[in-house]
Amino acid sequence: MGWYHLFYQYNPDSAVWGNITWGHAVSRDLIHWFYLPFAMVPDQWYDTNGVWTGSATLLPDGQIMMLYTGDTNDSVQVQNLAYPANLSDPLLIDWIKYPGNPVLVPPTGIETDEFRDPTTGWVGPDGKWRITIGSRINETIGVSLVYQTTNFTTYELLEGFLHAVPGTGMWECVDFYPVAINGSQGLDTSANGPDIKHVLKASLDNTKVDYYALGTYDPVTDRWTPDNPKEDVGIGLRVDYGRYYASKTFYDQYKKRRILWGWINETDTEEDDLEKGWASVQTIPRAVLFDNKTGTNLLQWPVEEIESLRLNSTDFEEVLVEPGSVVPLDIGMAAQLDIFVEFETELISDSVVEEYGCSGGAVDRSSLGPFGILAIADQTLSELTPVFFRPVNSTDGTLKTYFCADETRSSKALDVFKQVYGSTVPVLEDEKLGMRVLVDHSIVESFAQGGRTVITSRIYPTEAIYGAARLFLFNNATSVNVKATLKIWELNSAFIRPFPFVDSN
């Protein structure tokens, strides 16, 4: 049984970005992680200003080609190759940088500081590998360049772009991968065929938001076309509607799933980060699948191994929550939870045609919502983080359902960024409204309708902490009674720590 490897951008010297080094951690189950020594440090002229983002390509013969962006001594962004010093070391502790680095420099017409984050490679029908690298043209057009290679040391830049979207600006951390249309498993990055769509994802440097779109990849022309140009990369669906950036996936060939990692950066001030001595976390890894039911979006779901952290569970059947009320849920410790909720609503007075979204937060009362849970709340509700649905009979005649997380009262602390996040979520006929919420002290990951819309929240409670954290149901709608059915697990800690090397004398 092998190890999952995570390489992450890390500053060993400070809790603010800089001196970027490759941290390294390993796990058997994507949940319990062990820290290893740094995989790569900025010790060459071609990466002395930072060993930035990269991707691994696993070759059929077992080799691992690691391409990464180095920021050179002249602050030029170049792509470098690295590989394990010892492939038979299951921990892959030592890495060698290819002596001929850099293998790619910014091509003509591309700014020398807008050329970064090479993707995992995929094989085309001609047997050659391709990688794609995000950039921009004329400062405003987000693009992804395609390079072909047979050996990962020499490359040919293909004409044109895999895709380009005007107005989106620089594309960081581009990710490109296939999903099965009628499948229940992930696909190898090189997979292609009739029952497959390709996902193109970009992190927009201008807005610090991750976007994706579904489309078709033509392996002969190396072009990708979105299914819906109105929801193209950077102008349509977000990967996550909360505090989330620089995400990327990898293919887990043993359990045949596509796994998504995402970075939750801090919303407190840099001074706070320096004082506390650390910053940034990663979300719980998520499995990604195409949503066969809607055909227009992906589904994300926490990896099943999270269940290994489950302790005892509590069930609640059809708890009635009347308009304007808050119902406490008696579950013991409420700072580490895996919550499943399903809602049924009953109209008790005339609903109204109205326009509402997530933006006003949970205090805004509309006729059919908001209702949901209050996570990381304290007994007196001086701090609370509502995660909720807001169905709306829209003025265009349709029923829209918003799924939102409201951080505005999440903390009494003054200098933390407190947002209301959310979006509409597709709800099909005969579907009940349901959410799954992972609660972990200061992170809330909320999944609606099986993972169609996901919101990550970064909060800094000062009262609702440890034993003082509570969970409530709430209904702030004016015209509906809400009945909630819940299953709530307390989650154990993952005890993430340095790898327990044992001296072999």
Binding site: G167, T207, T269, E270, G357, S359, D415, F417, Q419
Partner: protein, 161 residues
């Protein structure tokens, strides 16, 4: 004092009889008698005035958006207008009041962050109106974005101390 501003087209600073005034197409603000002996207070007062101006401008624009939605004159604009309202509401309700509070407590960096974010929301609102639909908010969005830039520039002076 001089401020380096990006292409500000509709904001005019002028000094007349010891009064610094800020003239905009939608809102007039005058500060009376800035005290030349105590520069830091002056800059902080200016930052405070600017932040309040950003809030009134944003509040005014939000009401305008909601009025346009209510009138429903152009069905093609309903969705982009609703999306704009979604962007403006938290700015008016939460982020700008938080910025005003942070400024009062001397947290200039955080104030700047919130103002920058507000400016971005205005830009994102404008982006909702792509080629096919003509934005009724262009002047207002541009103004808010510019005002935020000015406020951030002033805050940089404060941060330098």
């Amino acid at each position: 004092m001089s401020l380096r501003l990006k292409s500000v087209t509709t904001i005019v600073f002028f000094r007349k009889n010891g009064v610094v005034a800020l003239k905009t197409p939608f809102y007039d603000l005058c500060l009376s008698s800035l005290n030349p002996q105590n520069p830091i207070t002056d800059v902080k007062a200016l930052a405070s005035a600017m932040t309040n101006l950003v809030l009134s401008n944003a509040t005014d624009t939000l009401s305008y958006i909601q009025e346009l939605i209510k009138q429903g004159a152009d069905p093609q604009l309903q969705k982009p207008l609703a999306d704009c309202a979604e962007l403006y509401i938290p700015v008016v309700k939460y982020n700008l009041p938080q910025a005003i509070n942070a400024l009062m407590r001397g947290r200039f960096g955080f104030t700047s962050y919130l103002l920058s974010d507000a400016g971005k929301q205005a830009q994102d609102c404008e982006k909702n109106f792509s080629g096919s639909s003509q934005s009724p908010l262009t002047e207002r969005n541009k103004l808010l974005s510019n005002l935020c830039d000015v406020a951030v520039a002033i805050l940089k002076l404060l941060q330098k101390g």
